[in-house]
Symmetry: C2
Subunit: 326 residues, 2 copies
Amino acid sequence: MSTANTEQRVALPMTVPAQAITAVPMPEAVTIYEVGPRDGLQNEKAVVPVEVKAEMITRLLDAGLPIIEATSFVHPRWVPQLADAAELMGLLVDRLGDAARRMPVLVPNEKGLDRALELGLEHVAVFGSSTETFAQKNLNRSYDEQFAMFSPTVRRARDAGMDVRGYLSMCFGDPWEGAVEIDAVVRAGVRLLEMGAGQLSLGDTIGVATAGHVQAMVAAFGAAGVGPERIAMHFHDTYGQALANTHAALQVGITTFDASAGGLGGCPYAKSATGNLATEDLLWMLQGLGIETGVDLDAVVATSTFMAGQLGRPSTSAVVRALSGA
Amino acid sequence: MSTANTEQRVALPMTVPAQAITAVPMPEAVTIYEVGPRDGLQNEKAVVPVEVKAEMITRLLDAGLPIIEATSFVHPRWVPQLADAAELMGLLVDRLGDAARRMPVLVPNEKGLDRALELGLEHVAVFGSSTETFAQKNLNRSYDEQFAMFSPTVRRARDAGMDVRGYLSMCFGDPWEGAVEIDAVVRAGVRLLEMGAGQLSLGDTIGVATAGHVQAMVAAFGAAGVGPERIAMHFHDTYGQALANTHAALQVGITTFDASAGGLGGCPYAKSATGNLATEDLLWMLQGLGIETGVDLDAVVATSTFMAGQLGRPSTSAVVRALSGA
């Protein structure tokens, strides 16, 4: 989905000094929103057989991950890696029942939503852009047109009793536009919430966020009446900042973090560069901080090692590598 | 120097929840203590020619790095990678004059100190262990014997007007002993300071520290009368925690951080696992936070790219990889 290369890249991290933050105590528990099967696999070169996906997801569920985004009902022309979305979800619902129906799926439009409704799924996500350029490049629509596209999807999903998550990409920088104003992200987020999204996931799609920027973003949403309980952070480790940003976000009340088992995906153009924050690296930090997640680290590591074998390349997760001696 | 493998590893990150921290404002400036030429290269498989080392160090100096630990006067039997230490320092002093004399070198004992004194160097470092086991494994001495060994070295260096840095390894966990008591680290640190060391470098040699542990460590030193201005943090990225730990350390007043250009070294046993915190990844975060370092990021990246070519393997720095499109 996202790409960052030397032609497009933002020149430097945008400078947003740390502000005096109101000392919120660290949370006692955090929800990890697992994106590996969808955001991870859609950005892998290899197409993974549906049975392997089902095994991966089942293992992640058994490991205790409370939310697993399973796939995307996007047209196969755009994401051939997820062309088996309907087959996968049917298979999971057959095997796992309600646990599978609770797994979020990405629905780019009403057609995708129809497929989710047919399967009795309870949780969908829409994917928007904070910036004009990325809306055009990723969705082939203008910034305003994307909201027009989401609106009926979100409304119908809510009417059907579904939970709806609104992703926003390029929240901390855009490879074509450079700096992205915090206020512009807040405006886009508020539009998604007013439309009916229950939770926002703020994506640092190209990994340029730094800690002060993250805290300033949360403060700006707070000033607009959107508390941290409605925001998930979706960090990429492209520049090594994902966990520092997570630490900063925890300090301002964020309690939901997106992560990808084994660090799958996020950087399709680079052989072994890191993209998505690895679930294991996040778990390591949270365990060190004594913050509950309900997730069994060793079981996630074993799943990622299994997937690395399937994909034929080592995991990009530091924890997976260190624990497996890779 | 350090190794961490599945036989030896600490089972999990030790849990040290974040405490309510006294809100220290983020520092306006930070000193990066560059350890790549010494700590980095001594842990690389390849032996780098002395001319390449001289070029690396000169480029890092030109990039604005204020302190560059150049080499170690250790016996070549233990560290063949640095067997050219005297030749290298002679060459640097010839070319760079006082700038080279200010570069710290590691001196394991009085013999090493003699060589530093002959060259007119102004800054040495000694390397101790927080734990009994690692003292024996790394220095072939008991915990107490190591201090007996350092004592005359430190005293003579101070008498000669030198700055002395005291490294402490295994401060956040030991692969053989497991958890390391914070108080034990404080006791070891105080012994080095009382002996005459001007600065402590607290090493997370196996990379198991997490953010709350770091802040608790600084608080414990403070309670023992050792303020953060006398402490440098030396983080390893083995489990991906180095920058999160840096963020935590900045918040409690630490202003000196060890880092290795390109992430060189630190994990000699692992093909491409990360060891030392990469200077570039640290710079990225500090620039994002608006914290001055005086260092030119692009120049460090170029140096690391040059060294990656010399070593025949890609840099482990996320920033180097992202910026070079590796």
